[in-house]
Symmetry: D2
Subunit: 366 residues, 4 copies
């Protein structure tokens, strides 16, 4: 389905970095869900560039909901959110159009679209498109919140600096969702910001690891084969630009260990079945077990750096060198985390609607 994801609640994305408008559609969400435009605006702000640690392209993202909402509530029909592009500097890009940025999609876009792609500012591959994803994701996040499902993501690692681990999940998530720079340990956050600024000054970029926790997901979601909860979440998480790995629970850490160390023992807790540890990240056999869903995403260093790089001119088919100019992020991990929250919410809405029906999320018993 290409630019559409989801069977029961689906999201469709469109737009290019320097086109007239970008936007996204969320379809299949129950009618009667209140739309909180302030929350949407807040999420867009979390995604926006921040000072020196981000690109110099700063624009306010004045989104418009053009369909699917009536008298402040979802109607049950497709909700289209549109964000106009205003501050495009197209002149920045045309000169280097056929000099493939290493690590970026310029060359693969050319292979796929045969030169007809809108190359300005990364076109349809631009991180800018995620603004639309965040806007509809915000609608999904607030719908889930009303059902007691909370999502939070922190920068677990950045530039080799590690944030502390999740501890008190509800409190940590609440804190992260207010934070402009999403770390649990403020001091580590300062170190990360300093490291990003330093890389920026050197014309370089850094990556990191995002760790996400989801509370309140009912047990019994997901399928044993193919549409495992891990597979469904990973599918959409790899759409977050720069994500190159996804692991659930202890993930790759389990590779070196014994089953006796990493099995999560079950036990009764006030009449409820829980696990003593959560190395499986809340998922067994592809299906949620009622514990918090935990996963981590590897975010590679932003490929657009200002250092001189070897590359090719793919129109001339010859070696070349590239010295990038324009506006680029020395790190996107602090902006990507809200995109991770957004796509997580979109995927969960889809899985929940498939399991419990289209009206479940409204939850007023109709």
């Amino acid at each position: 389905m290409k630019n559409t994801f989801g069977q029961n609640v689906s999201v469709t994305l469109f737009g290019e970095s320097h086109g007239a408008e970008i936007g996204a559609i969320i379809d299949g969400l129950a009618p009667g869900i209140e739309i909180d435009e302030t929350f949407i605006a807040g999420q867009l702000t979390l995604r926006r560039p921040q000072g020196i640690i981000s690109t110099a392209r700063q624009e306010p993202d004045p989104f418009q909901i053009v369909s699917g909402v009536f008298e402040g509530k979802t109607t049950g029909t497709p909700i289209c959110v549109i964000i106009p592009n205003s501050k495009a500097h197209s002149a920045d890009y045309s000169a280097t159009r056929s000099l493939a940025r290493p690590g970026h999609a310029d060359y693969t876009a050319f292979c796929k679209y045969h030169g007809f792609e809108d190359y300005r500012g990364g076109g349809h591959f631009s991180g800018r498109i995620t603004a639309a994803l965040v806007a509809v994701g915000a609608i999904a996040i607030s719908a889930l919140q009303k059902k007691g499902i909370a999502i939070g993501t922190h920068i677990s690692r950045c530039a080799a600096i590690a944030d502390r681990s999740f501890d008190d999940l509800p409190a940590d998530i609440a804190k992260l969702n207010q934070a402009a720079f999403a770390v649990l340990d403020a001091e580590k956050g300062e170190q990360m910001r300093a490291a990003i600024e330093k890389a920026a000054k050197q014309g370089d970029s850094v990556g990191g690891v995002l760790e996400t926790a989801v509370l309140g997901v009912p047990a019994g979601l997901g399928e044993p084969w193919f549409d495992t909860l891990e597979g469904t979440l990973a599918h959409i998480l790899f759409s977050v630009p720069a994500v190159k790995g996804v692991q659930f629970g202890a993930g790759f850490d389990m590779a070196d260990c014994f089953g006796s160390e990493y099995n999560d023992a079950f036990r009764m807790d006030n009449g409820k079945i829980v696990t003593a540890t959560n190395h499986n990240g809340g998922i067994n056999g592809g299906i949620s077990n009622g514990m918090p869903i935990l996963f981590r995403c590897a975010v590679k260093p932003t490929p657009s750096i200002f250092k001189k790089q070897d590359t090719v001119d793919f129109l001339k088919n010859e070696n070349a060198q590239l010295e990038l100019r324009g506006r680029h992020d020395p790190a996107i991990i602090h902006r990507a985390r809200v995109v991770v929250d957004s796509v997580t919410a979109l995927a969960l809405c889809d899985v929940l609607a498939g399991r419990f029906g289209t009206d479940w999320i409204r939850g007023d018993g109709i």
Copy 2:
């Protein structure tokens, strides 16, 4: 779509560990592809248990192709492969039916299927079901081979022992596809086998990391959003039992590094555009760039161990202890690798058919 994966070439899986038959259907494959039953049998052999390092349940997997093949070639209609179950010891399981094995799907199956699940031998969650996946995967693998696409997986880590890295990819892949225990360094393989045997004797289990390389994938496959090549592969890879993480190229290793270190510089190589390094695992912006596709899967230690474990009885809702009997694998990583190859081939057939049409894979110009 639950037990079906793929839009243009799809696979559907059915069966339970102790049911009458397991099987799989591959639909959408081009007509005219030769079926090599010896190769299918060989792949099934690679998946089968091996001596003390595997479960004691040993059965020959006498598969039968019941549709979609005529005069030794695919017809273009659904190919159903059936494998009868013969050596089921159902008595082993009924006693402990409601004692949830930690790390396993017993409890989540109960949450999802409300107690109607076939609990014998893991039912539909059993690793045994992967035999059917391997059978149809073998058809996909040999179709891809004729188009110059080769897939190989090695045990990159097991029980904290590391195999050597990929070096000469074509030779390494050829070697792996003949190996019963898929390592590149035979000595490391012996150490791994010894570690598995030791864990088995202790009633414990071990995990590891599988690393896969795919050669010959054309540039331009995958989509910028949602159906990224990474997302599509990860979606199905998380169906391989025990896989808890998937990373492409350098993956999580990139998190601590600079863009200048991990960008893959492009260069001309005999008139062809290649990259000097391959930290991105052959994929930029969700789309293949013509370099080898590289990814790693985290395989957790088998959850079925013989040590006494704390758990609950989910029918009685009370704490309990479990001392497992029966036949279980102390490691599945050496068996899982052929499942990884199989699902990789199935996903690639789907993506290729979507890109180039249903007949491309036959490639005889019709």
Copy 3:
């Protein structure tokens, strides 16, 4: 998705007329639904050839449920039903292999499958494959019955003879579901049978119209665009061999009339909103309105006739004549009706599961 239909409850079909086995998988059905093998066998009997008015190929359809059922109830995992082929007379077909039967799929199969198709007995296009569809459809029908949804189809026209219209729907449906030859007016049925026999003696065939009623479908099913209830039902109804038209309610009869004649006035009936007439066949704006769903399917005369016909030899690319031998039906309308009921039930299960969640159909409040 080709040989798979449905998003939430899906059906996958496989097999060829003269292959080893045919079969079908129904996936996504709730766990805990009782399987009535006698009812399945009964539905297969309704589909089977009957004396002179059908093909001489008579076989008992000894179906086997190989997965997804445990202790007599659905487990919630894919249910695969297999029917072995026993009485194949392959020799009948090879001689005329490249003489395209007019009105049949021989030539289009050749265009699509390039000569690799299994041409024996119509291969994957054979009406025989519908036995598998009827088997899984029977499971869907009996699941719906427990939720108060009843489906019945009668031969509304055959060989220019018209059955009476539906009158008392519950009674009519109950009667039809027991009838070997599904008419409401027994005398008209005798005339139809006589007309079919007469056509058979002349080496010819006849068609007709099937009319279907579905009771108990809740209001609010279907989507305004694309996945209208009409569109979803029509999609699968056109898979019933020989169906060339589908109309809902008054359908084409409305074309010549005024809105004032064909609008269905709403009125209260014991506190429930109903319509005074049902020209819209229970569907407005693509969505069920709670009235009976009514539709008709045009069934063309069976293309396999024994009269000499002009055709081509598509391997030699030359004009030819065809005088068919073998076993063929002079009419399939009396057999097709149970296939119509089956696919209707399968489509409704999918739509209901999408609307109300996977467990709704079991309906015991879990």
Copy 4:
């Protein structure tokens, strides 16, 4: 997938009659296809109301392509076309909000959306939404034209007046695609217009039958089961408002006839296999045979009439009467035909891309 149709080339629709904007996205179309904005505008004009025979709501449909087109050509990424709503008279509707218009979707929308639907002017069910479908359909139509595929629809019947049948298909199609009122016999067209005007004066409405021909569709498109070419086309055709029946070729006319009369004999014609007649409408066994695709759609009389009608107030649950005011079409058949052409083109693009790959439609050999 609700408001999205298509697997390889997909269309997504959004908007409400009185919302800010309506729009549609076409995704999956090959890069490099020229966009002809004049043709899109022309198609929108064909859909627009015409004098007394249409609604008094007349607006110019100033569409805007906001993504997926660069330098006048498709980029291969999603093309979003937006049409602002300007002349909404919302006051017309609120008074009668809960008086269900007989034959219309007011009551079923209420059943589905629980009262949260945007009821103004039919909301998401409004025929106005088809403007967006026509805009993206125009892009599909002109892409198909360059591959030699031509689509034409005429008003075969309206108010019991019959147009002449198709005769010289290429000439007839060319003529229809220029005609504001799509008939082949101008005199019959005048009679139809007079009949519509007469019905309008009486506050009533009329329906009719649209007949469509598609030239140039290659043989071998479609699937034997489920995704038959008939089923795929019918699926989307039932989204055209007021369509209540779809028949291919002779359709329901075949029901009363013999196989010997309606089988289409094959014959050689200048080295090409053709059929002497085309009762099957160019489709055998669900797959195109290379002959023109022919089908007819039943269009019911517009449900919004001005005569007093019995109905219910679905908020008060009581009987009521409705005397509609506002702007409504006494017939939509002359406007619907361009919607039929549009959805036919969208469905064919999807099927062709699935068969021949994403780049086929551009057809310049890349």
